[in-house]
């Protein structure tokens, strides 16, 4: 079985020059950095906050905070990793404000009933995503990932959706590398388990499950 091909893009060679120009007050240079990363910041923010308005606020607040603190960016990490760290913190603050009754932390080990032991081992259809319309698939994927604890969801999004390396994810979340790996394994296995209910091979005549049919996990 082949390994996953990561969706990683190396920063453009002009990136440090843009950061340097922005540090010296060139707003146009900073605008180019916004264009480069605003979609990523929005996705990460919406995955964490699960709220569109909050995600919009996070995009604005994260870039403004980055701009005001550019002098503190020393260039030891990629600008993007540094920006993600700011965005994740802003998003977690939003989440805590919205759900003050629940502690939201990336540090705690979350114990869940559905942990790392696979229970559903049925194989999937060859092209499982094609069994559903785009809208149905989007709903299944969104509801499934929203069911993960914030600490697992965030690690999965940074590593597997945004393509940060394990080291960059650890740096952005201020976690140790073993903690990132442990959360990533559990996030991947839990998502797989939950998606299996929708994507497994079925006998002919058995209808596909939908979120409304009660076979979903939410």
């Amino acid at each position: 079985m082949s390994t996953i091909q990561p969706k990683v893009s190396e920063p453009a060679s002009d990136e440090l020059a843009l950061v340097q120009a922005a540090k010296e007050g060139d707003v146009g240079a900073f605008e180019q950095l916004i264009r480069r990363y605003d979609r990523n910041v929005f996705r990460i923010a919406q995955h964490i906050t699960q709220n569109r308005e909050d995600a919009e606020d996070v995009v604005q607040d994260a870039f403004l905070k980055a701009y005001s603190n550019l002098k503190q960016f020393q260039g030891q990490s990629k600008f993007y990793t540094w920006l993600v760290r700011i965005a994740v913190n802003e998003a977690l603050m939003k989440l805590r404000r919205r759900r003050p009754e629940r502690t939201v932390s990336l540090d705690e080990e979350v114990k869940t009933e559905e942990d790392s032991v696979p229970r559903e081992v049925a194989d999937w259809s060859p092209n499982p995503e094609q069994q559903y319309s785009q809208a149905e698939l989007r709903e299944i994927l969104t509801r499934t990932i929203q069911g993960l604890p914030a600490s697992f969801r965030t690690v999965f999004v940074l590593r597997d959706v945004e393509g940060l390396s394990t080291e960059e994810t650890a740096e952005a979340l201020e976690l140790s590398i073993p903690a990132v790996k442990s959360r990533l394994l559990r996030a991947r296995l839990q998502l797989r388990e939950r998606l299996s209910r929708f994507f497994q091979k079925r006998e002919s005549g058995n209808g596909k499950p939908t979120l409304e049919s009660g076979d979903g996990d939410q």
Partner: protein, 85 residues
């Protein structure tokens, strides 16, 4: 190798972050353990489906609105920042 040991290495295996010897032990396990093969294959598909899905794309109009708001605040910040004058 037991299935639980295989699972512990699953993330490293899928990410290609293992040495050749461990890789060959894992692949030997996969060659006879159908359950681990299915778990490994469907975990890989899970990652690929999420990676390729376009969840939470930023619409163009909202994107320009947010960017203008940020740039305008940065310009305001620049005017009051004595170090940049």
């Amino acid at each position: 190798m037991k299935c639980s040991e295989f699972l512990q290495e699953l993330t490293n295996y899928l990410d290609g972050a293992i040495d050749d010897r461990t890789k060959s032990e894992l692949e030997n396990h996969l060659s006879w353990c159908h359950n681990c093969y299915v778990v490994c294959d469907t975990t890989k598909k899970t990652i690929e489906i999420y990676r390729d899905s376009q969840l939470y794309e930023l619409p163009d109009d909202l994107r320009s609105r947010l960017r203008s708001a940020i740039v305008s605040k940065c310009q305001g910040h620049k005017k009051v920042d004595p170090e940049s004058v």
